[in-house]
Subunit: 341 residues, 2 copies
DNA sequence: GCGGATGTGGTAATCGTTTACCATCGCGGG
DNA sequence: CCCGCGATGGTAAACGATTACCACATCCGC
């Protein structure tokens, strides 16, 4: 169907080597005349080099694998976009893989992508389980972790300072006069533990003691947030503010709180994490700790390019600053404090 | 680094052909004994077939390209998930491409993917411009269009009946007593024109005349919705309800309307389109015309598998029914009508 | 006239598979 | 005893590129 380098060669009356030299442009050893002649035939035959063949021979496929927990969590598309934009400019393609937080799936994608000879891997790993990460490192596959990055594995990573983010969210509520502040989130992931640690840091710095009763457990989804809020209410815990582990949970919790008759932000103030697009579209608009998602994607891919082009291989953790975005979900400054004990 | 079929062959004391036969499983002509011996060596050496080489020889790469306007529009991740789930079960990988509604980018991705020898293409095309679609068809590349599908190009497609969706949204508002119903959306895409046509159908069926003044122009984003609503207000058009071309626009319009002092749904009722996750998370919860996004993704990929496995090649348009999801953004039944002229 | 640099382009091996075709063996039938 | 056949497994030619190596011509200085 598509024409091959051999057809171009015979049509132009030269050898395949010459065609390859002209097309790939890497080798100057062709006279201007031949070059023009070959180019003309290439255009006439609409020759497109077969990237699979090229990949086999040259051992670089110009493809990277992107492994995320779930592309339908709005946090990830923004990252994917950043990655894809940079990759596309560099002529690389991106293979998308969803793990649904399943370690087995993550592992199977890893071997699949190796079989496909991808040049590198960018991923948000599901777990603190670092066995397979270490194996990748040993195998020398370029890897950049994004958003979630267990420490101490010696692998490049791009993420925000989650502990600091958790602290800033909590400090904001403290400044507004709140003292009974709940934290909702899962307790399993390192990322979430960091945010929780930041929350506790802030409380202690304000002279408050973190109370286990103020912790709500729930998955990283709107349903998880609703469930966590419901459990807080069911246990009749007194609280006037909530720090949520991500925006999805915050939004779910807001739904649930409102359904149970709490006014927002008058009765309960809420802070989220991530600053997904919808944070500014819910009512009240959500105050949240922003992660520069698109930029993180770009940075991860740019670092990947360095790795691929033989740059400095020593692993580097790029820890960005989160930024508190104040909107309406915590009320106006100085309005809080009704729930103080 | 990774071991090759040749290494396995010598280690097992057989030829590469035999190893290939055992590993690919396609050829029975190997005795049980040799088979076991080869398998043992494969396991010991952790042999993984190189899919690039296999792709070159067999001319099937087990890869499909997914081209979407923008993965960060929450409509697409759901589709992508459906596609990816089916693809993964079948051992296919998905290359993700964002066109940002740019026809030139779409074209360049098309040639890139052909160079990469993808087995098929699933995509939401940016435009009614069908030249490149026809070319694909001529080249015999399996293609399934999704969500956006110009008619008459003779290419498989999976989408909802947009005209009917537009009609049902409008009928819902009419039933609630509204008669001055605005429609906001871009007027360029076929999809949006269909929804607009459905809107007009419903008005005419109710004995009303569509008024150009009630049309608001804006892009398919929250900002576009806000802009369209703002233009409606600026022009002092009287309206008590809005049909938005998608949920993002609906949500943006709601923001804008509220900012300008309109109460929702008391002063203005709003219906969206798509039923993205956030439709049920905004306040008031958005009444919308749902597209079965995940299912559309699955169906498109399943159809792709048929095409790849040599099933019936005659193009088939799979037109699904949209489903009106009634939530709070139009108020309770029978409460409308304040804006009647 | 000769050695060697330089510029140009061809030959063929290679990447790691798949698979068409052939070779060998054991066996049963005529 | 010979022939044909089924079962098994090896040989080698692809797939479509890249590139090391070689060949040849031209030209320079001596």
């Amino acid at each position: 169907m598509a024409s091959t380098i051999r057809e171009v060669a015979t049509a132009a009356g030269v050898s395949v080597a010459t065609v390859s030299r002209v097309v790939s442009g890497s080798d100057h050893r062709v006279s201007e005349g031949t070059r023009r002649r070959v180019r003309a035939v290439v255009a006439r035959l609409r020759y497109q080099p077969n990237l699979v063949a090229r990949g086999l021979k040259s051992r670089v496929t110009h493809t990277i694998g992107l492994i995320v927990p779930d592309i339908s969590n709005p946090f990830y598309p923004a990252i994917a976009r950043g990655i894809e934009d940079v990759a596309n400019d560099a002529g690389l393609a991106v293979l998308l893989c969803n793990t649904y937080e399943d370690l087995a799936k993550e592992r199977s994608y890893l071997t699949l992508l190796r079989k496909r000879m991808v040049d590198g891997l960018i991923f948000a790993t599901v777990s603190a389980n670092t066995g397979h990460l270490r194996m990748l490192r040993r195998q020398g596959v370029p890897v950049v972790l994004i958003a979630r990055a267990p420490e101490g594995v010696g692998i490049d990573a791009v993420l925000v300072d989650n502990r600091r983010g958790g602290r800033e969210a909590t400090e904001h509520l403290l400044r507004l006069g709140h003292s009974r502040i709940a934290f909702i989130g899962p307790h399993t992931h390192p990322v979430e533990r960091d945010r929780l640690a930041g929350y506790k840091d802030a409380l202690r710095a304000a002279g408050l003691r973190p109370e286990p009763a103020l912790l709500g457990d729930g998955g990283l989804s709107a349903e998880g947030g609703a469930a966590a809020a419901a459990s807080l209410l069911r246990r009749r815990v007194r609280f006037s503010a909530v720090v949520a582990c991500n925006d999805l949970m915050a939004i779910g919790a807001m739904e649930e709180l409102r359904a149970k008759g709490r006014r927002l932000p008058e009765d309960v103030a809420v802070v989220g994490f991530d600053d997904i697009t919808f944070a500014s579209l819910v009512e009240p608009q959500l105050t949240t700790v922003a992660q520069p998602k698109y930029r993180m994607g770009r940075l991860a891919m740019e670092r990947m390019m360095e790795l691929l082009n033989g740059g400095d291989r020593r692993p580097r953790r790029l820890v960005l600053d989160p930024a508190l975005v104040v909107r309406a979900s915590c009320g106006a400054s100085g309005a809080g404090g009704r729930g103080a004990s």
